[in-house]
Amino acid sequence: MSGLERRSDHPAPAASAGANADSGSSGSFSAGNRSTRAGSTQSDPSIARSSVPSVPSSSGRSAAPSIELEGVSFSYPDGTRALENINLRIDPGELVAIVGQNGSGKSTLTRHLNGLLRPTTGRVLLDGRDVRGLHVARLAERVGLAFQNPDRQLFAGRVSAEVAFGPRNLGLRGAELDALVRAALDAVGLSAEAASNPYDLGYSRRKLLSLASVLAMRTPILVLDEPTTGQDARGAARVRAVVAAASEEGRTVIAISHDMRFVAECFRRVVVMRAGRVVLDGTPDVVFGEATWPELRAAYLESPFAALAGARLGLGATPSESSFVAALGQRARNG
C-alpha cells in the first residue's frame, strides 16, 4: 500500500446518498446535490427513492462483517501471477471502488472475497476469522458477487425465478422469499417484467436482473463487477441509486469499474491496482488529486474530468461533479 492515509471519517450509514461533498467541501450545496447529478435521475422519480430489500433481520445477520486480505498472493494454475502480496482491509459499511487496467488483478481480487479463488499464500479474513474452510455457498450468505456478464448465469424461464434462485439457495421460502424478490426487482426497476423470460430483455436489463438476483440475497457485503459497463444512461442511474441505497442501509459495497465518473461520484474509497499490487488507496479527493496523477498514469488510468477541471482552476480536490460545483460556488461567493 502506498503511503496515502485513509480518511478516518467512518462512513455513517446516514450519509447523504453517494455525494462526496461531505468529504470536505462546503455543505451548503448538499441539498442541491441530488438534483445536480446526471439529469436522467430526475426524469425518473422512482429511481431516487429506490431502496434495496432489507427485511428486518430475524436471522441475526445484523452488522456487516469486515473483510480483509492479509498478505494474499495468487497464481493461476498456468503460472500467471495475478496478485502480489495484497494487504487490504475493508471495514463494515465502506463504499470501495477498485480500479485498474485490464489484467491488473481486479477480478482476481474480488473472487477471493467470496471464496471462488483461494490464495496461494496469505489469508482472507471475514470479521477476523480465516475463511479457508468455508465453502463458497456458505460465504455467499455474507458476500454477494454480481458478475460482469449476465449471460453466464441466467437460466430460469422467468425473471422472478431467476431472482429467487439466490435466496432460495440460502434457505428462504414462502412469503419472505416472495417479498425479497419483489423488493429486489423494484430496486432495479424490473417489477413489470417479473413474469418475462430473461432472454426477452435487452442486455442492459439483463445486467440489472443479474444485479437484482444478488441483491435479493441480502448479503451484508455486496461486490459488483463492472456494473455500469454496457449500460445506457438510465441503467447506469439505476446502478448508482442501488449503490447509494445499499450503502445507506449499512451494507459494504465494493465495485470494480472502468468508469471514473461513477467511481468519483458514488464511492468514498478508491483502490488502484497495477500488475497485481495495490498502488494507491484513499478517498477520491486524494486518489484523483493532482499529486497522484503521475501514479495514475503509470497505472494507465486518468482522473475524471471534474478533477482535471478543478485542478485547472485551482479549486482543490474536486473528483466528482457535485464537489466541483460546490467548490466553484464557494469561490463565487467568496468573491
Binding site: 450545496f29 442541491g32 438534483s35 445536480t36 447529478r37 446526471a38 439529469g39 436522467s40 426524469s43 485498474g100 487496467q101 485490464n102 489484467g103 435487452g202 442486455y203 442492459s204 436489463r205 459497463t229 454496457g230 449500460q231 445506457d232 444512461a233 438510465r234 441503467g235 447506469a236 472502468h258 471514473m260 465518473r261 494507465y300 488510468l301 486518468e302 475524471p304 474530468f305 471534474a306 482535471l308 477541471a309 485547472r312 482552476l313 461533479e321 457535485s322 466541483f324 460545483v325 466553484l328 460556488g329 463565487a332
Partner: protein
C-alpha cells in the same frame, strides 16, 4: 460515394414491431459518424441494415432504400457484403473464427477468404495489427486471449479487409480506458489514411466527442437528432433520450443549473 439510408423501415423476421421506424442517414468516406441511443433503441439493427446484413443475412423486411455507393444492399450478394462494408459486432468472443492457430492467421482470415495472394495477405495483416497496436499479439493463440485482447484482434481482422466503410458496434465495450483511447486513435488514423467512412456505435460519448465528425441519436427506431458531433453531444435532450453526455458537457450543465457561470479558462483549455 456514400452509405445512404433513405426512409428506411425494418422489421426482423417474426417480430411484431419494427426495429427501425424511419431512418435517414448519410455517411461519407473519411467521415466518422457516431451513433448513440438508449439500449434497444435500434443501434445494432441500424448497423446491420447499413452494412447490408439485414435483410441479406438475417432476413426480415426492409422498406425504403439502403445504398452503398449507389447500389442497393439488397442487390449485393451476401458474400460480397464484406468487401463493401466491414462489420464488427458487439460480442468479441463470437467474432473470432476459432479455426486459426495464431492471431496472425486470424487477422488474415478475411483476406485469405477473398483469395488474395500471399504477399498481399501478409501486408494487410501487418498493417491491421499495427493500426490497432497489437503486433506483439501476432504469435498468440486466439483462443487464449482475454476479452479485451479478443476485441482488438476482431477489430484488426475487419480492418484487414480494407473495406471502404466500417461499421463498428461498441468496439470498446470490453476495453479499459487505455484500450479505449487506443481504438479511438486507430480509427481516426484509419479514416484519414484509407479514406474509410466509419459508423461508430458507442455508449462512451467521450470517444465520440474526441473523434466523431457527426453524431445521430436514435430513440425507438428513429433518428431523434442528427448533426455535428459537438452540437449534438451538448444537446440537453440527450439525457431525456437515455444517453449519458460526455463528462465535460454534464459538468457544464451541472454548473449552469447551480446558477454559476462556466469558467472561460475551461472553455479554451480543455477540449
Amino acid at each position: 460515394m456514400a452509405i445512404e439510408l433513405s426512409g428506411v423501415r425494418y422489421r426482423y423476421a417474426g417480430a411484431s414491431k419494427a426495429a427501425l421506424r424511419s431512418i435517414d442517414l448519410r455517411l461519407e468516406p473519411g467521415c466518422v459518424l457516431g451513433v448513440v441511443g438508449a439500449n434497444e433503441s435500434g443501434k445494432t439493427t441500424l448497423c446491420l441494415v447499413a452494412g447490408g446484413f439485414a435483410p441479406g443475412v438475417v432476413g426480415g423486411r426492409l422498406e425504403g432504400s439502403a445504398r452503398i455507393d449507389g447500389v442497393e444492399t439488397t442487390s449485393i450478394p451476401t458474400h460480397a457484403l464484406a468487401q463493401h462494408c466491414g462489420l464488427l459486432f458487439q460480442n468479441a468472443a463470437t467474432q473470432l473464427s476459432n479455426t486459426t492457430a495464431t492471431v496472425f492467421e486470424e487477422v488474415g482470415f478475411g483476406p485469405c477468404n477473398l483469395g488474395l495472394a500471399v504477399p498481399d495477405v501478409i501486408e494487410r495483416v501487418w498493417w491491421a495489427l499495427k493500426a490497432v497496436g497489437i503486433e506483439d499479439l501476432a504469435p498468440r493463440d486466439p483462443a487464449r486471449l482475454s476479452g479485451g485482447q479478443g476485441q482488438l484482434v476482431a477489430l484488426a481482422s475487419v480492418l484487414a479487409l480494407r473495406p471502404p466503410y466500417l461499421i463498428l458496434d461498441e468496439p470498446t465495450s470490453e476495453l479499459d480506458p487505455a484500450g479505449t483511447a487506443l481504438v479511438g486513435d486507430a480509427l481516426v488514423r484509419v479514416a484519414a489514411e484509407t479514406g474509410a467512412g466509419i459508423v461508430l456505435v458507442e455508449h462512451k460519448t467521450e470517444v465520440l466527442a474526441r473523434i466523431a465528425d457527426e453524431v445521430i441519436v436514435l430513440a425507438e427506431g428513429s433518428v431523434a437528432i442528427a448533426g455535428p458531433a459537438a452540437a449534438v453531444l451538448r444537446d440537453p435532450i440527450l439525457a431525456e433520450l437515455g444517453v449519458e453526455p460526455p463528462a465535460r458537457v454534464a459538468l457544464e450543465r451541472d454548473v449552469r443549473a447551480a446558477g454559476l457561470d462556466w469558467p472561460a479558462a475551461l472553455a479554451e483549455a480543455l477540449a
